[in-house]
Amino acid sequence: MSNFAEQVSQFMGPFVGRVPHNKQLGLRFVAAGDRWVELQLPFSPRFLVDPDHGVWASGPIITLMDTCVGMASMLARGAFEPHATLDLRTDYVRSPKPEATVTARGECYRMTRQIAFVRGLAHDGDPADPIAHVAGTFMFAASKLAGGWQ
């Protein structure tokens, strides 16, 4: 693992769960590598939109995935630069098991001067059998990669 990734794991890892909205949901850091991050969201009945059918709202899953791939893009960037989500698409391929802890794995597969391209999945125990896939982009305000802010 790069020095930056180690630094992020040690300092930003615990920080992820202290972001106010992440804290409200109970999101927690699990692990990170050079370009990927794993986070977890333990079940809460407050995440449901339809308690009769146990249907989850999208919001908690999108919050989890957005945070996860955003952090992966920062790792791939190798620097703490301000960035914002440009877009994020989530495909729900199946319902989570009742009361499951949801694990998110996100990676940045391509970094350009201004844009980070990310993808990720959410699963409830087996990464080979995901509940959701995401794909998205993050925008960096300016670039240090191509020599200076431009």
């Binding site: 999208s58 877009d87 994020l88």
Partner: protein, 145 residues
């Protein structure tokens, strides 16, 4: 969604959405403005994602609920409600969410019996400057008769 209380509630001009646990978490209420269903998310410190900005996930959650409730309100009266679940959700983030009240509304692009295509948008002080928009495809599962 089989809760008839929800249909009764959406027939009102305004109210809180505590029937939906996640809406209660976001402290949501709704209001009918010229017939349009608008969801209201008051600012709270717990919604913050990065310093001084709302978390994109919370805004996305608000958009999905605006879409979901608009779909439920569009179902024929007197019939059992289908289970409504999003299959794809695509969110565009246009402007940062300031630490103030956010509103969201949705329009149905196509109302089918099995699939409903929805566009939802969220704004703050100025509706002509949306902060976030979503395209959501919902699938409806009808109860057996």
């Amino acid at each position: 969604m089989t809760n008839p209380a929800l249909v009764t509630l959406l027939g009102q001009n305004s109210g809180r959405l505590d029937l939906l646990p996640y809406a209660a978490l976001l402290d949501l209420s709704f209001e009918r403005v010229d017939g349009e269903l608008q969801l209201i998310m008051p600012f709270a410190e717990t919604l913050i994602g990065s310093p001084g900005r709302l978390h994109g996930g919370a805004i996305s959650g608000l958009l999905e609920l605006a879409g979901l409730l608009t779909v439920i309100a569009a179902q024929p009266e007197g019939e059992p409600l289908p289970r409504v679940r999003p299959v794809t959700v695509t969110v565009d983030f246009m402007r940062e969410g300031a630490p103030i009240e956010t509103r969201a509304a949705a329009s149905i692009t196509k109302l089918g019996r099995r699939v409903v295509n929805v566009h939802a948008s969220a704004w703050q002080a100025d509706r002509s400057r949306p902060i976030t928009a979503a395209h959501i495809n919902f699938v409806l599962d009808w109860p057996d008769r």
